[in-house]
Amino acid sequence: MKKNCTIRVALAGAALAAFSLAGPAAAQEGAAFFKGKTVTYIVATAPGGGYDTYGRLVAEYMQKYLPGSTFVVRNMPGAGHLVGTNAIYASKPDGLTIGSFNTGLIYNQLINADGVRFDLSKMSWVGKAASESRIVAVAAQSPIKTWQDLVSLKDPVNFAVAGPGSASYVETVMLANVLKLPVRIQTGYNGTDDQLAMRRGEIVGSIASRSSYDQFVKNGFGRLIAQIGGNDPNLPQMSAVVTDARAKELLALIESTGEIARLTAGPPAIPADRLEVLRGAFKQAMEDTDLRARAEKIGLPVDPLYGEAIVRMINAALKQSPETVALLKESMERKK
């Protein structure tokens, strides 16, 4: 990790040096533009919760590195991040509106779902603050101790997901279908409902983002039996234990959406010089020691990537085989 960090800083330095040689005039013009301006940072959820916390942190520290600017966080919740994302996409591309939303919207775009009024590949990507690897968690009182235990169950057990169409729903339904997991999917468990239900015993497990289960596992209420992405040496990587080719393709998709978590993006066609300035400020914010200290204290992982790297990942994630898209479609449009 340390080494990784050093390399990143070195690369950043190199990039900055190259950048300053290449276009000092443009960058200065871009930076000057933000003086005295107000930047609206749209968070596609209600106040509170991970998206809001990351959003406020990013906005606060981007402001620090864009002298003279004022960042205002605006919560635009609704329709599973669609309202906020549509608003970011439709905003004026002057660099004064950016924001954050769930990467799971990749799924919605792939199947061209209702309510999608954006094209993620065209957005102006600033960066991402973290990765949210997925895990399979089961209740502590359940006899299931390992992934193998789960797969070889005779009678299906209840797995909780949020509302239909949510990322947790889509991922769980797809994996259950392809891997023929012995699970019955119970919908409507939003927020931390699933954890309480696991304590009550009505729900046995859940496929969720790792950070939402850290505390639960630490308190001894549950255990993790597999991971998708992530680098926990004690957990089996799901892509390594499955053999089905279709499943591997799916896992790669889930992994990549997990990789680009806590993102910051703006509408298409923000002028290049201003986007560069925004990316620069985002990068400085991510490397700020104060931000790191605060994030660590709240238990928010910081694992950033910037600009073009994100664009490549988004484009890769949006290129899926027709079979995967069909599977997604089947999972998102629930049988009536």
């Binding site: 509170g48 919908t187 931390t192 505390q215 639960f216 998102m332």
Partner: protein, 509 residues
């Protein structure tokens, strides 16, 4: 015995620690003020205020930071009642229950008495909530874990059956129609089972359902303002003469709480337990307790026309639930409400690790927080009682000056609650219906009950059926609740029939 002595030491030690630290007390004062101001402004939830305060507590001492945020959150509900009583403008779904009797009291020139009673009731509820919190610590697990989706469904149904009492005598069918209309509107939005958008067209803002605060303001606030503007004069229609809102009137209100102490204790406990069980939501507590007050009253026909019990019950409940909802947050690390979810994030920043270990490692902090709830509520009550005398004078201001101001307040509230302008159109549409209901003397409370509890009922029924199939209601607690529902319905039919026989004429007067 020794353990008991130790417990008492910790208990009072933390109280002394809290009261003798001038810095903590100063912070609490500031927190109470912020909490009251935020609570009095419609549309700004307590959640947002905590989220905004987080940067300020960063770096504070663990105990002080937690006390600061908790007090701010706890007194939030205490000031929301001011506008719901004085102008019929509830700040959120909980306050709507207070409006039903609070606003008629203001119209009778009794704003002072209503406010005295409601402020004291919310303080009382907050303190009983803290006591329930303390008592419940040992039995937290079995109690919280015995409520599953099956029980949520039955509790919601129980709340819906209270409609029969809320409608008033001879109006039971009107009540049911209005209640069903509310339930119908609760189905707007994404179907929790199939993910199909219902009655939403292409409008994304409807996907998450109708905004409760918008519907509540449309049904209560707007029709009252139209009526007030049409009538002229002031809210308090005491014949033009300004009744002096004296401390005596306020004090008379304060005394209503000890007069109805048994009701206040019951509704506080119900509120605290509903708060403890994540998933039922805050508005359910206020409405269930309002229904309970009507149902157990000897003179239910007074409700809706300015019965002071109708103010006491929801206010005790909505403050008591704060103590309750802190329990699963602190000891399970599973927040009981969205407000508590934000609070938990803040606790982590302060270095508090919620979870079962709190019980052994941080019990002094837990007690400090319980005392902070008590002391914070006391500060809030004293302050509000002190200023209310002047605030209540507003009910004697001429309508021509007051109505535009309140309408602006309502619209700002509707917009800022969810940040979607489309809700202003919904406000107009539902207000038209609300105005019709008010004009022709149809009950309006069943509408909000149907809207709030209908959604909970539908979601929990889906979950319960998915988990256990058709026989989901055979758990012991479920059977108790079914018994309560059957008894409520039987009693409603009985009293309705009896009411008709005894009072063949003039029942509606």
């Amino acid at each position: 015995m020794g353990a008991c002595r130790l417990m008492i030491d910790v208990m009072f030690g933390s109280l002394v620690g809290l009261l003798t630290n001038p810095q903590t007390m100063g912070l609490m004062l500031i927190a109470v003020m912020i909490g009251l101001i935020v609570g009095a402004t419609p549309g700004i939830g307590g959640r947002l205020s905590i989220a905004l305060a987080i940067p300020f507590v960063f770096g504070m001492d663990m105990t002080q930071g937690a006390v600061f945020l908790l007090t701010m959150h706890a007194v939030n509900g205490t000031s929301g009642q001011i506008s719901s009583i004085m102008f019929g403008v509830p700040g959120d779904g909980d306050d709507a229950a207070t409006t039903i009797d609070g606003y008629p009291m203001a119209k009778k020139g009794e704003a002072g008495r209503a406010l005295g009673a409601s402020i004291t009731a919310s303080g009382f509820g907050g303190i009983v909530g803290a006591i329930v919190f303390a008592v419940m610590i040992p039995v937290l697990e079995p109690v919280v874990l015995s409520f599953s989706p099956a029980e949520f469904f039955l509790l919601a149904v129980l709340g819906i059956t209270f409609i029969a009492f809320l409608a008033g005598k001879g109006q039971i069918f009107k009540g049911i129609i209005v209640g069903l209309f509310g339930m119908m509107l609760s189905t707007v939005g994404m179907d929790p089972q199939t993910g199909t958008a219902r009655y939403s067209g292409d409008y994304l803002f409807l996907w998450d359902g109708l905004s409760t605060i918008t519907a509540v303001l449309a049904v209560f606030a707007i029709p009252e303002m139209i009526a007030l503007a049409a009538r002229g004069g002031s809210i308090a229609s005491t014949g033009g003469e300004i009744v002096k809102v004296s401390y005596r009137q306020l004090f008379a209100g304060v005394l209503e709480v000890p007069r109805h102490w048994f009701l206040a204790v019951r509704t506080s406990i119900i509120g605290a337990i509903i708060g403890m069980v994540p998933g039922l939501g805050g508005s359910a507590a206020a409405w269930l307790c309002y229904g309970h007050a009507v149902q157990t009253s000897k003179t239910p026909e007074r409700f809706g026309h300015g019965a002071v019990e109708g103010v006491i019950a929801p206010e005790t409940a909505s403050n008591a639930k704060e103590g309750g909802s802190l329990l699963p947050t602190l000891f399970f690390g599973i927040p009981g409400s969205s407000g508590m979810a934000v609070m938990m994030g803040a606790f982590l920043i302060l270095g508090i690790q919620p979870g079962p270990a709190m019980m052994t490692q941080n019990i002094d902090l837990v007690w400090t927080l319980i005392w902070a709830l008590v002391v914070g509520n006391l500060i809030a009550i004293s302050f509000l009682l002190f200023i209310t005398r002047w605030v209540a004078l507003l009910t004697f201001v001429n309508a021509a000056m007051l109505v535009p101001f309140i309408l602006v307040l309502v619209m700002v509230g509707v917009y800022s609650a969810e940040g979607q302008w489309e809700n202003l159109i919904i406000l107009l549409l539902i207000a038209a219906i609300g105005w019709g209901l008010q004009r022709y003397d149809w009950p309006r409370a069943p509408f909000v009950i149907g809207l709030v509890l209908g959604k909970i009922a539908e979601e929990s029924l889906h979950k319960a059926l998915g988990l256990w199939g058709i026989g989901f209601f055979t758990r012991p607690l479920s059977l108790v609740l079914i018994g309560l529902i059957a008894a409520t319905i039987a009693y409603a039919i009985y009293s309705n029939v009896k009411g008709k026989n005894v009072m063949p004429a003039g029942a509606g007067s």
